[in-house]
């Protein structure tokens, strides 16, 4: 068993588990991003499409993992990148294929559409539906300050050469001479991460709420709870990331054995991923799994034409910048609004910058 194959599997396995679960976690009035009557979600034809989709995802997993095991001589970084890229590309093929099948079934049955083009929202002063206070993010600042202080305390006894990178085999691949500037490297990363997680708080809180017209009160309440749960989850996830880097700072200046750092990082990531999966399964899309909503015999096609290929939301008339994803669980952006272009540009800039370093 070679290390890089295991790493590829470790990355694509949770990914594909979530991909496979997506149709079952989405709201019942959607099938592969196509609007259907929620009462028809359970018919045999759709069951078959979902089952075949899962089988395809399993096949993709076996294919990519198998290739990773065979291509031992390939450069490790290239293998992992290619594997993940190919995995995601194949997933999209599976998605579009299932979407096509769904459209065919929909045409065959010719279900009635909602005669009215309506939109509903709920206004409430319910305190439990408010997002967690921003004051909790002060904890982030405390952690970062603590990390800096800890670094200063360890500095006198730290090794002269600080280990910066190790490869998968555990061998050291990059060291730097110890200097006081290095103390701020990890806190800088932490500060950046804190900003990213704070941004996710705003994005989720400001995002447009989806309300199912067939059962507006129940779905509105579930939707608010869904947002609150996710904001809390993101806060905890961010905290875990920050603490992981606190450990990195400790490991760097205490001169810890690389293996330990590796396992701790893996442990943190595992807990984080499992946590996300659990929350995803519990809440479902738009909180659809938090409460049982009434079924509808008709199709509500609100906004469907603005979802290009079912995955890209482009709606000039909608003032919302952040909206919920249509196929999977999470949030995406309204590409028709100019702040979206800014967000994408920033993300690309960050990736390019870190690659160039």
């Amino acid at each position: 068993m070679n290390n890089q194959a295991i790493l590829v599997l470790a990355i694509i396995l949770p990914l594909n588990i979530i991909f496979a679960a997506m149709p079952y976690l989405s709201r019942k009035n959607l099938s592969f991003s196509i609007s259907i009557p929620s009462a028809k979600w359970g018919i045999d034809e759709f069951k078959r499409i979902r089952r075949n989709y899962v089988l395809i995802v399993i096949a993709i997993t076996i294919l990519i993992a198998g290739a990773a095991f065979i291509l031992i001589n390939m450069n490790e970084a290239a293998l992992i990148s290619a594997g993940i890229f190919l995995n995601i590309a194949l997933f999209y093929l599976a998605f579009f294929y299932s979407r096509k099948k769904t459209k065919a079934i929909k045409e065959e049955f010719g279900w009635e559409e909602d005669a009215r083009d309506i939109t509903i929202t709920e206004i409430t002063n319910d305190k439990s539906s408010k997002a967690p206070s921003l004051y909790i993010y002060l904890i982030y600042i405390l952690v970062i300050l603590g990390t800096i202080i800890m670094g200063y305390l360890l500095y006198p006894n730290a090794p002269d050469e600080i280990i910066m990178q190790t490869n998968l085999q555990g061998e050291v691949s990059s060291v730097i001479q110890k200097s006081t500037n290095l103390l701020l490297y990890v806190p800088a990363v932490q500060a950046f991460l804190a900003i990213v997680f704070l941004f996710s708080h705003f994005a989720i809180a400001k995002s447009a709420s989806y309300v199912d017209p067939a059962d507006p009160k129940t779905s509105a309440k579930a939707g608010r709870k869904h947002k609150r749960i996710w904001i809390t989850t993101m806060f905890i996830g961010g905290l875990m990331m920050l603490l992981l880097f606190t450990f990195v700072q400790y490991s760097m200046f205490k001169g810890l054995d690389n293996a330990i750092s590796g396992y701790v990082a893996l442990g943190f990531t595992l807990v984080f991923v499992i946590g996300i999966v659990l929350v995803t399964v519990k809440t479902g899309q738009s909180g659809s799994r938090l409460a049982k909503t009434k079924d509808s015999e008709t199709i509500n096609r609100k906004d469907e034409k603005y979802w290009k290929a079912g995955i890209i939301y482009f709606n000039k008339k909608d003032p919302a910048i952040f909206v919920e994803k249509r196929f999977s669980i999470g949030w995406t952006i309204n590409f028709a609004k100019w702040p979206s272009a800014v967000i994408i540009a920033v993300i690309i800039a960050v990736v390019v910058f870190s690659l160039l370093r």
Binding site: R116, I120, I123, A320
Partner: protein
């Protein structure tokens, strides 16, 4: 309280928003001191232009139901601020007259019309004095 917008309706969107908020106040789903979301927030949730929402809010403010509090935002005013006066009553009478006459023409009696009014009245004429 639910706000429902029908994009295919003849009624302008801002009027639909206005009417739904009036209904919510009438049925006591929101009352004095409660906050309405910002124009951006409501616009985003309804996928409606925020200027349309602003138009509805302006109409509510002009009628005295809503006021913008600098710290709290858009809040519903206490009922004392919008008690029916003589001007309102005569305007209401003017609006109702053609509707009642048309109902008469079509054979609805006084009793029939009163029954309809009862069906749509949330508190059947009970005084809303605090």
């Amino acid at each position: 309280m639910l706000i429902k917008i029908d994009f295919n309706s003849d009624k302008p969107i801002y009027e639909q928003i206005y009417d739904d908020i009036i209904k919510a106040i009438a049925t006591n789903e929101i009352s004095s001191g409660d906050m309405l979301p910002s124009v951006r927030r409501l616009g985003a949730d309804l996928s409606v232009n925020l200027h349309t929402v602003a138009k509805a809010y302006t109409k509510l403010k002009n009628a005295g139901y809503l006021s913008t509090n600098r710290s709290k935002g858009m809040t519903i005013n206490p009922p004392q601020q919008y008690r029916a006066n003589a001007e309102y009553k005569s305007a209401l009478k003017a609006k109702l007259t053609p509707l009642i006459h048309e109902a008469n023409i079509r054979g609805l009696s006084y009793k029939d019309i009163t029954k309809i009014i009862e069906e749509i009245s949330p508190n059947k004429g009970v005084n809303i004095d605090e």
